[in-house]
Amino acid sequence: MNETALQAVAVHKRYRLGRQEIPVLRGVDLAVARGETVALLGASGAGKSTLLHVLGLLDAPSAGEIRFDGRRVDDLPVRERAALRHRHVGFVFQFYHLIPELTALQNVLLAQMMAISPLAYWRVRKQARADAEAMLERVGLQDRLRHRPTELSGGERQRVAIARALMASPQALLADEPTGNLDSHTAAGVCELLFDIQRQRGLALLLVTHDEGLARRCHRTVRMKDGVVER
């Protein structure tokens, strides 16, 4: 239970805007253990999303280290970082980020097609499809497999996104205001699902939110301000 699934060590992130360097993260240390839920709070612009991206290897830190299961990963080649991003972490975003051309099922299937050659995928496609259908059933969308994102409600879209994030059986979930775009009732449902799955699978969950109530349901709350974690 105490293994750190995800760890940021003295992470700095600076953005360069013209000649100016904007420090967004200024030495962040944060660890999330397996089975642990951490709420990340902070004012808008504090750097929460940036930290999430850096932690999920979607963006490179300017300085510091990212560790998965205690192993440094931010210095790996780009291809391996992509594979780890696929295998180790799942992202859930505020605006769902589904591909509009694909149905719910196809969006979830997409997560099965990462880090695998077309030929290898072809051999397991039936199993992949069955898994994707099962996953959608798990998030309560068994009747929405063939719906496009535009034909789904916000809550349903977020469920599809959660299903997609879970498809590769990651050890950590990085959720950036997953309910920020939903009404409170729908938000409650999505949160229930998220915590349920987290508990079931013993995932590390880092949850960015502005909702203190939601934060209180997590094991731990971390506050950020101006690019640093408040102690």
Binding site: A82, H86, M114
Partner: protein, 495 residues
């Protein structure tokens, strides 16, 4: 290696985005146009080449001294084991005019106007031939069959084939003489002296053979209709050269078609002795020379290009040895060298055409580029999403590269299919368009062809297909690279 999602997403994009049809259509059109236009061109070129080949002899000994004697050269040339036959040719510029026109109208009299249309005004390249020997060289009989055919294809009327070669009497055949009764009728019609009784008329006129393109301009003539042939030469020099004109009366003996437009317009064939006489070398004169300007050579059939070249070199040495000492070397030209300017002009034109078609292909490639670029711009968010769920930059780029490849594959396949079909049915389609809409896509009358020659070379089709696909991949690589290099975080934030 790429990930499985790349082809999958590329395929989904293709199916859901109709703009890609435009790119597929563009590639299809370009491939189709290239195949069709080029196969018509290839057809034209091969037809032209075979026409030229048919009207050219295997080897032509030319650039001989002005008083070269045929008999001397013949002995030298025919001594070669590869030579089957030779024929003398005597080239001289001249004019010819219908007797009837000159007698009946004053059309050209007193006119200082220069008319450069040599088919209409009578300028001609006079070629003196020995009909019997020409038959051994080949070609002449075929030309005389095709001449009336070409005219009959285009104009109503009764175009008789020349009887000159079927003459059994060797002397008459050598003069390309027409039957005596024909000459009698022609004399009477033209108001020239003739026997009162047709049975007593003895033909005196040598025959002249004219190209069908000239006939097309001048109109068809009755058998043995008289022409006057004129040529001119200078004697003396050093400022007081004297111009001599020589003329002969000949009868119209038929029409030929060689397949070469220049020859069919400008050439007039007449018995070599007639032309020799005009040039002061009448066989009966003492000291006359059986002059030739060229000797046509027929080689043993089945010789390869190398053997023909070797034979050409041997003949040049033999002829040079037979010429008087100090003469400049002769030239021995094979059929391609005999028509080198014409053939290289045709090849050049085909090259130009292929360049134009390549530009069409570039436009199609640009359409692919534009649609893919647009796709990358519109799909920025998807690029971020794919990266977030684990897509490597290379695989994300591959989505767009494969999209371009698929567009090119479909477009090329369709273009090949339509191209092959339309090449096969080109003449039928051309006829149909003309019959129903008075529209002729390929105006074969313009080129004096019976049908549009169309030859689709499989190697060319393969080249075009591979080229189109390769070009599309190169062009698609630009937006693909752009997509691969995007920062996923910025993509996700993109509105």
């Amino acid at each position: 290696m790429i990930d499985a999602f790349s082809p999958y997403v590329a395929w989904r994009y293709l199916l859901t985005r109709r703009i890609n049809l435009l790119a597929v259509g563009g590639v299809m059109f370009a491939v189709w146009a290239i195949l069709l236009v080029d196969s018509v061109f290839t057809g034209f070129v091969s037809q032209i080449r075979s026409d030229v080949r048919a009207s050219a002899c295997d080897l032509m000994v030319t650039e001989l001294p002005h008083d070269a004697s045929y008999e001397a050269l013949r002995a030298a040339i025919e001594a070669d084991a590869d030579v089957v036959a030779t024929a003398p040719r005597l080239r001289h510029h001249g004019m010819l005019q219908q007797v009837r026109v000159r007698a009946g109208s004053a059309r050209n009299q007193g006119s200082s106007q220069v008319d450069f249309d040599h088919t209409a005004n009578g300028f001609a390249l006079l070629i003196g031939i020995d009909p019997a020997r020409e038959e051994a060289i080949g070609g002449l009989r075929q030309w005389l069959v095709r001449g009336p055919e070409e005219l009959a294809q285009r104009y109503p009327g009764d175009f008789w084939p020349s009887p000159a070669l079927d003459e059994t009497d060797a002397g008459r055949k050598g003069r390309l003489a027409m039957p005596d009764a024909d000459e009698w009728r022609a004399r009477r019609r033209a108001g020239l002296a003739h026997e009162p009784d047709v049975a007593n008329q003895r033909g005196a006129w040598p025959g002249v053979l004219l190209g069908w393109q000239r006939i097309r301009r001048l109109g068809w003539f009755a058998r043995s209709e008289p022409f006057d042939v004129v040529c001119a030469s200078f004697t003396g020099g050093d400022g007081d050269a004297v111009l001599h004109t020589h003329s002969a009366r000949v009868g119209f003996a038929g029409v030929f078609a060689t397949g070469s437009r220049a020859a069919d317009e400008g050439m007039a064939l007449l018995p070599i002795e007639t032309l020799r006489t005009m040039l002061g070398h009448d066989a009966a004169d003492p000291g006359s020379v059986d002059v030739v300007t060229d000797v046509a050579v027929r080689l043993r059939p089945g010789l390869g290009a190398a053997a023909v070249a070797a034979a050409g070199a041997r003949l040049r040495d033999r002829v040079n040895a037979a010429l008087p000492p100090g003469s400049p070397s002769c030239l021995v030209a094979d059929w391609e060298q005999q028509n080198v300017t014409f053939l290289s002009a045709v090849a050049h034109e085909q090259g130009m055409m292929q360049f134009v078609l390549f530009v069409v292909m570039l436009v199609a490639a640009f359409v692919i580029y534009a649609t893919l670029h647009m796709m990358v711009v519109q799909k920025v968010k998807d690029i971020g999403i794919l990266a977030a769920i684990g897509g490597s930059p290379r695989s994300v780029g591959a989505v767009f590269l494969l999209g371009g490849l698929a567009v090119a594959l479909f477009g090329t396949a369709l273009g090949l299919g339509v191209g092959v079909l339309s090449a096969a049915n080109l003449n039928a389609a051309n006829e149909w368009m003309y019959a129903n809409f008075q529209l002729e896509l390929f105006p074969r009358r313009l080129f004096d062809l019976r049908e549009v020659p169309c030859r689709l070379e499989p190697s060319w089709a393969a080249t075009v297909a591979v080229g189109a696909i390769a070009l599309a991949v190169v062009v698609a690589a630009v937006p693909a690279r752009k997509a691969a290099r995007m920062n996923p975080v910025l993509c996700l934030a993109h509105e």
